[in-house]
Amino acid sequence: MPRPTLRLAALLLSAAPLATAAHAADPAAVVANYADIAHAGFEDSLIRARELNAAVDALIAAPSDATLDAARAAWIAARVPYQQTEVFRFGNPVVDDWEGKVNAWPLDEGLIDYIDPMLGANDENPYSVVNVIANPTFEISGTTVDATEITPALLESLHEIDGIEANVATGYHAIEFLLWGQDLNGTGPGAGARPASDFDPANCTGGNCDRRVAYLKAATDLLISDLEDIVAAWGEGGQGRADVTADPLQGMVMAFTGMGSLSYGELAGERMKLGVLLHDPEEEQDCFSDNTHASHFFDGVGIRNVYTGSYTRIDGSIVEGPSLQDVVASADADLATNLLSDLDASVAALGGLVASAEAGTAYDQLLGMGNPEGNALVQTAIDALVAQTRNIERAVDVIGLDGVGIEGSDSLDAPNAVFQ
């Protein structure tokens, strides 16, 4: 399986430009490069999603351990570029509005398929055990839903139904659940272990294999069309690109907001600290596949990409150009270097989670109640992510951008002389 490795991490780090400003700090060029990196990242995500779709087709055509493993490997590979795009989410309304379709989490997976009712039923969500795959019709808020045909449109209509965020019917994590099934190992070793025969109508396990196959195919098709939308949004004339390039100062605010918000509130807080405090093995983002270490790691790499203005594509080519780092360096060289050191440190700390997983201890095991060393390893990464937001804030101050952290800020009325 093409699991991301530390060698890959080293490669990514060495591919980035040195701290010295190699390009002129022209804000328009900086945000243009930022948009190019976003476009390339989403395009890579689309390419990998199509490869996943082909692997799903092969699984459906001939269900076996080999074809299921190949589909799982394709899903893991698809996460590598996608997670590096998460930094474009916060601060970019186009991405933020769209993101929930493909990466919503956490989910009450019992909406989709069979579960162990002791593990996944949610009293707060009346639809947490609906099981669409087993039930061609069911009731939502007193209305009967016709799910005889499982189509992308049906899944879209069920997604976050009744305003409940845990009703995740689409996206990477719905597909992940279908490929792996629930991880019933708690904080012990092991991921989900769905048998390939769950996708084999001729020798069906788990019941309703034809409908499970239909769900998997519909979800994968939908992922592709959703990714096509976002690639278009970052292409020439797309809304995502227009939003960040129309006003380069505003574009840089968005870029820094994305870096800081993903670092602190989202990754360090919602996705990591919560799990450590709850000691709950399901409080990990890729809880079915036990791929969380890699997802967090590539989030960190993505944050660093935006700062250094450099992204290594899945084919090994590099998209790079004038960067936020260059802009900061032209105002305060020490700060520019310190922020790069912070980002290197968080990527390294997140790399510690990857190293742990590769050595046989998965992220969910690190969260365990009786595992203070594991808890500390996660906490180290949290601390590094929180620490880097301080220099991100200082970078915003030093280059004279107000308004970072405020959604829809209009306080751009005092741009620093550095931009004039």
Partner: protein
Amino acid sequence: MIRLTALLFTAALLASPLAAESAAPGPLPDGSHNTEPGLPSGAPERGEIDHEALRRRSLDVLERQFGAFDSAAAGLAEVAAAHCTGEVSEDALKAQFAATWLAWAPLDSYQFGPIQNTGAALTVNFWPDKKNFVGRGLRALLELPPDQQADPSVVAGASAAAQGLPALEMLLYTDLPLCPAVVGISGYMAGLSHEVYQQWFGADGWADLARTAGPDNPVYRTAEEFTKTLYTAVDFGLVRVAEARLGRPLGTYEHSFPTRAEAWRSGLTDQIIHAQLRGLEDLIEFGFAGDVRDPDRAWILQIFGQAHDRLDAIGTTISEAVEDPATRFRVESLQDKIAYLRSEFARTVGPELGVDTGFSAADGD
């Protein structure tokens, strides 16, 4: 027993709506007056802010607020133990529980430094609870032998969702057995509240870190950076009220969520919002004080007052109000008022202090 009685009396007073109304801006709640009101009124311009004085005054406010929670949590542990030995009534325990939650409410705005390091925002008040973590964590705790349930060090190793106020509320307001788990949980929370206080105001605490702002300080390179932290905390607190405390139960017009209201079981939802707003007013009036021009400070405090009025005008608990179109719009109008307060705060106070919001725990989703 005298101390316990006094404590219970204070708790009852704090928990009463009367007390909630009486804390208008003016003398400090402990009866003393602020001796350092900051610069005289009259337009400190950008760049003339005395960030050191602002820090000194604000730390006084924070020490009082963190101290109040520390005392209330210690009192709760004491009352809980007395209840389980039959010395005090369940009503008295509920009153002290309410006082403790209302003492916590202002601290929700300060999710940086010690609160972040200890994870207290989640361990003291695990909310919102999107997947019934409180129920599951509590169930696991209640399966342990009684002596372990009563042991704070056992609770320390449990799920964060079973360590704080929502877990205590579930014990107090459902059919679950109250004793002895209430002793273990409140004992753990008392220890944590003291730890948070010490990390702030003990030797080499966060307050000292703020006081020693400078080029070699690991967190605050300048005194202004601490001002920015406090300014961000006010904005964050208002976001928490508008988006979480009001927004989550409001849901959409088609589908509201009464049981997503914080503390709906105990009915403390509205008082918690009053208390959080009052904590922020306290910081602005006595902490930011004269470093924000008089007319602007008065204007912001006036909007706070309007928000309190709108909250009182709802006429029923938020949990009930969101379901009925006739009262729902009152909750929405309160939410609008908080949004207005936030934008007016950013428009007036931010530029005057020369700071803008930084990142906060509210930035995720």
